[in-house]
């Protein structure tokens, strides 16, 4: 994407009825492809004219822009428009992408792949670290051929707790929790586990 294309993105977005205003002179436009989509990709706008900076992220096929608003709806809308290509290799990236953009009443969900590399691990006491490592259940991905769905067993951080959960991902991208079990409480992250990095895709 060159400067001209970035200007076009701002132009396309500003033409929408529900457009959020961004500075033409001080907005960074960046994008990233997502392996599970053919046509849609992530587009991030950050307005440096305001303090603090203001960021919105969209799913786009270059024509339509779907704002990611913290609920599952926009992702499901994109899933319908651009049928997903889920594989054993990209099922975890899809789940991580989903959780990094969808929140519940207790905040963000974070899938812990490795307890030693969990965000803010060094903020916890030695006893807490030990409990986290002991309670951690490794990620396990299975394909349920009968339902054409993936079943992912994983340790999740949500609302200051670690949970062992079974996540079903249907072929259309819909996610459901088949089972959830509390492993550990009092594990509060001081900030977002996702930071502002482009970990999404």
């Amino acid at each position: 994407m060159n400067r001209e294309q970035a200007g076009r993105v701002l132009g396309q977005l500003s033409a929408r009825d529900d457009a959020i205003v961004f500075s033409r002179d001080a907005t960074e436009v960046s994008w990233r492809g997502l392996a599970f989509f053919s046509n849609y990709r992530l587009c991030r706008l950050t307005n440096y004219a305001t303090m603090p900076t203001f960021t919105m992220t969209y799913l786009t096929d270059g024509t339509e822009y779907i704002a990611l608003d913290g609920t599952a709806n926009p992702i499901y809308t994109a899933d319908e428009k651009d049928p997903l290509m889920l594989t054993e290799e990209n099922i975890l990236p899809y789940i991580e992408f989903f959780f990094s953009h969808v929140q519940g009443s207790e905040g963000e969900v974070f899938l812990v792949r490795d307890p030693h590399k969990m965000p803010f691990i060094n903020n916890f006491t030695d006893a807490q670290k030990q409990s986290i490592v002991q309670n951690f259940k490794p990620v396990n991905v299975q394909f349920d051929a009968a339902h054409n769905a993936y079943l992912v067993e994983a340790t999740l951080h949500y609302g200051g707790t670690l949970m062992d959960a079974s996540i079903a991902v249907m072929p259309d991208g819909k996610i459901s929790f088949e089972r959830q079990h509390l492993l550990l409480s009092g594990i509060h992250f001081p900030d977002s586990p996702y930071g502002r990095n482009w970990i999404e895709g």
Binding site: R3, A6, T53
Partner: protein
């Protein structure tokens, strides 16, 4: 016009705001002073997952 809160500069909130100020200031690298069109961060080389 601006009001003050005595001791505010020593709060954690002030530290957080300072971090936001530094982050915003880093945007100066993205936007050349004489250019009015938005700068663009290239991500073409980022591998797809």
């Amino acid at each position: 016009m601006l009001q003050k809160i005595k001791g505010f500069g020593d709060t954690k909130e002030a530290q957080k705001v300072e971090a936001q100020i530094i982050e915003r200031h880093s945007g100066a690298e993205l936007f050349a002073p004489a250019v009015t069109a938005p700068a663009v961060k290239h991500t073409l080389n980022v591998p797809r997952l």
